[in-house]
Symmetry: C2
Subunit: 224 residues, 2 copies
């Protein structure tokens, strides 16, 4: 009864580790990481739950795998180019990727076995900084700072209940109505005089911090 490999109705291609992981990303993107269960994943793939266990040992391996997939989506900086624009490009790309896959941020906390894409990513970034003339110690400083900022920003962004210009307004408003101006005057000020203004996009804050960090790092570099 069941469809077999290479059979007439070409719908179901063969399963593979790759397809399992991509399916898991699709489920997590669509319904959140909480909705990613072996059963929901199997349904996404059009197979029965236990079939996915042929390609992965357990759910943890799936989680490790999709974190590495996400890392693979981040643009690599090339050690050859101008370090500032390369590092900026990487940061912007990382932020965009983590916005697409917000569940990945929290996952990175619990996973400890880095995959190949993750290692390649770190190596390329370190290489770009070293190539720019930063010492080993200064590279460690810079990398810790940059990544803390990028991940931290993504973390905040994902925990905000809005995304994109103007969408902040409605949500902030409904929250602002519930907190008293006496107890939290500065919160109210920030909301009414800034966030609730039309055209405000919280995501724009990213550029400010990134620019400030890159400027300061550049200033610490000996003149070329």
């Amino acid at each position: 009864m069941s469809k077999r490999v290479g059979e007439t109705s070409g719908a179901r291609t063969q399963l593979s580790r790759e397809r399992v992981l991509r399916g898991a990303v699709a489920v997590a993107d669509r319904d959140g990481i909480g909705a990613l269960t072996i059963r929901s994943l199997a349904q996404e793939l059009g197979v029965k739950p236990m079939s996915v266990y042929y390609y992965v040992a357990n759910k943890d391996e799936i989680l490790d795998g999709i974190v590495d997939l996400v890392f693979g989506e981040i643009e690599l900086p090339s050690p050859g180019g101008d370090w500032r624009s390369e590092i900026r490009r990487r940061a912007v790309s990382a932020r965009a990727v983590l916005r697409r896959h917000p569940w990945a941020i929290a996952l990175m906390e619990s996973r400890t076995t880095p995959g190949p894409a993750t290692l390649r990513h770190h190596d390329a970034t370190l290489g770009t900084l070293r190539g720019a003339g930063f010492s080993v110690g200064m590279t460690a400083h810079a990398y810790a700072l940059l990544d803390a900022y990028v991940y931290g920003f993504a973390l905040q962004e994902s925990s905000l209940p809005f995304a994109g210009p103007d969408t902040a307004a409605e949500v902030t408003e409904s929250i602002a109505q519930q907190i008293s101006a006496e107890d939290y005057p500065h919160l109210i000020e920030m909301a009414t005089e800034h966030v609730l203004r039309p055209g405000y996009d919280w995501g724009d804050e990213f550029e400010f911090g990134l620019g400030l960090i890159l400027d300061s790092l550049a200033a610490s570099l000996p003149e070329a």
Copy 2:
């Protein structure tokens, strides 16, 4: 048979929402957030599972509650003092708290209903920045940057498999042995020439980034 309130052996005081939440924090600190189940929490409290549901509606409410408890542990900056030292103190305290309760970082991502301690914290920090002379817009920039850095650093710190001086060495070494110097030369360089050096404490990187950020923000402030 069971011990009751005010009975002879004074061990079991009455349950309360407060005790439930503190118990949850204790379990999460000791065994990780993954080990926090209604059953494990009940055991911690010396009661049966369903008893905790008298004080909280569901597990989500517990999670919201303990995030707010953690926020309450962070030292509040006082708007009266020198803004730089106040903001620095808050950042250092926040980092310390998140190191004590690493599970809180990931939780903050999923929780969206801020508790009173959380609101008070944000309000005090905003107030300190405004009092220092930053405009509303600049305060938003500064706060986004500072918090991204603090949370991001804590996030990285928690995902590193080591904590404290020198402990980095063993772990890094075991990992470094598994990755080839040809494929990841800069990763190897960083490990051998920096992280593996005796006395190295990754946590020290925090001060560098924090100082850099505070310096840059101070530079943007009009002279007093």
